[in-house]
Symmetry: C2
């Protein structure tokens, strides 16, 4: 039959909790829920049309991702990032991604890796004329891919735990300022460094890339 509903591609049906999670994450990292905003469980469960219990599970996760801050008596509010925190987040991100770059350099067969990365960059190039959101999305996808290709699940997971904070930093610092650092060339530098197999160079390239990004954000 042709009238299939959804599960064609890897689009597995998500649990309500996961849907709520995505919805809230998006709302926060898009600024729809402003930093500092106080969250009320009943309000949210009502908006999202889910029960309080299910919602609370999602909230716990967002809290651990650093998107929510816990106040006294379990009061939650949208986290507010200052310049130092943004720098701190990017320092950790840099540490993780430089590990990724180093790991990839040590792989015997890097052809597959570099070709995946080049595809990701091409996607960025294709999005270069599109919306700011699209550019950010494709940039993050490149960096996520970098981590994924290492095959180090822990590394990928740590990076993804940070992703929300990264998005918040970008949103907080202003999207225009963020994209200004996402040149296609800079990313090719990274791929070339990995291709060369020089772990030190690859690490250095990533560190500079992240340093530039962070400096740009909090400029």
């Amino acid at each position: 039959m042709a009238g299939l509903t959804a599960p064609l591609l890897g689009l597995e049906k998500k649990s309500l909790r996961e849907q709520a999670l995505s919805a809230l994450r998006t709302a926060i990292t898009s600024g729809e829920l402003e930093p500092g905003r106080h969250l009320v469980e009943t309000e949210l469960s009502d908006m999202l049309q889910i029960s309080r219990g299910t919602l609370r599970e999602a909230l716990r996760q967002l809290e651990q991702e650093g998107l929510l801050a816990a106040g006294p008596r379990g009061r939650l509010s949208v986290r507010h990032l200052d310049a130092k925190e943004i720098r701190d987040i990017f320092a950790v991100r840099a540490a993780l991604e430089s590990l990724a770059a180093r790991s990839l350099c040590e792989l015997p067969d890097r052809a597959h890796v570099t070709s995946s990365l080049r595809s990701a960059i091409e996607a960025m190039a294709a999005a270069a004329e599109g919306s700011l959101e699209g550019r950010i999305e494709s940039d993050l996808e490149f960096h996520r891919t970098l981590c994924r290709l290492t095959g180090n699940e822990t590394l990928l997971h740590s990076w993804e735990s940070l992703e929300g904070s990264i998005r918040m930093s970008i949103m907080y610092a202003g999207v225009e300022r963020a994209v200004s650092n996402m040149s296609v060339d800079r990313h090719y530098d990274i791929v070339r460094a990995i291709e060369s197999g020089d772990a030190t160079l690859a690490r250095q390239t990533i560190l500079e890339h992240m340093d530039g990004a962070a400096a740009n954000l909090v400029a």
Copy 2:
């Protein structure tokens, strides 16, 4: 009054959820709940004397910490680590701690930092003749302190998210094997490197320390 129950020192009363979280974490990282063990919500909520809802919140968190693995249909089981995963975990840990070491080197006033670290090492030395658990505990405390002293909350948080996995690695590889790498000298090396202010040296020292630890664990 002398008959106080608990809240004397910073021991704030924890919510049931937090208590359950600690209890489960301990049970898992101590091996009381063996790797691969299938968890049943009602069973646990029953054992811990808490409601299923409250328990589920704790489980979600453990899942995110990588202590639990999700199977089909939400089935949870205690995660099982193989040698590669242990190496991966320690690679990420090394990346985080080397960032910590580098950051500390850049601090203008390192006297306070190094003295805190030396205290932590003395605690290790004091525990050196004690139980294996005590030695592990003081070793982890040293490394956690390393991260905390940077003042980078994100870094500390990332490290702590990994702590459960680290403990599991140690338990899984055998506690005796783990402590064999925890010499007091090696830790003084780290402090001295930081003291010297040489970021590259400090980073290198940490990387070697972690490399040795990981190699020892999966030997």
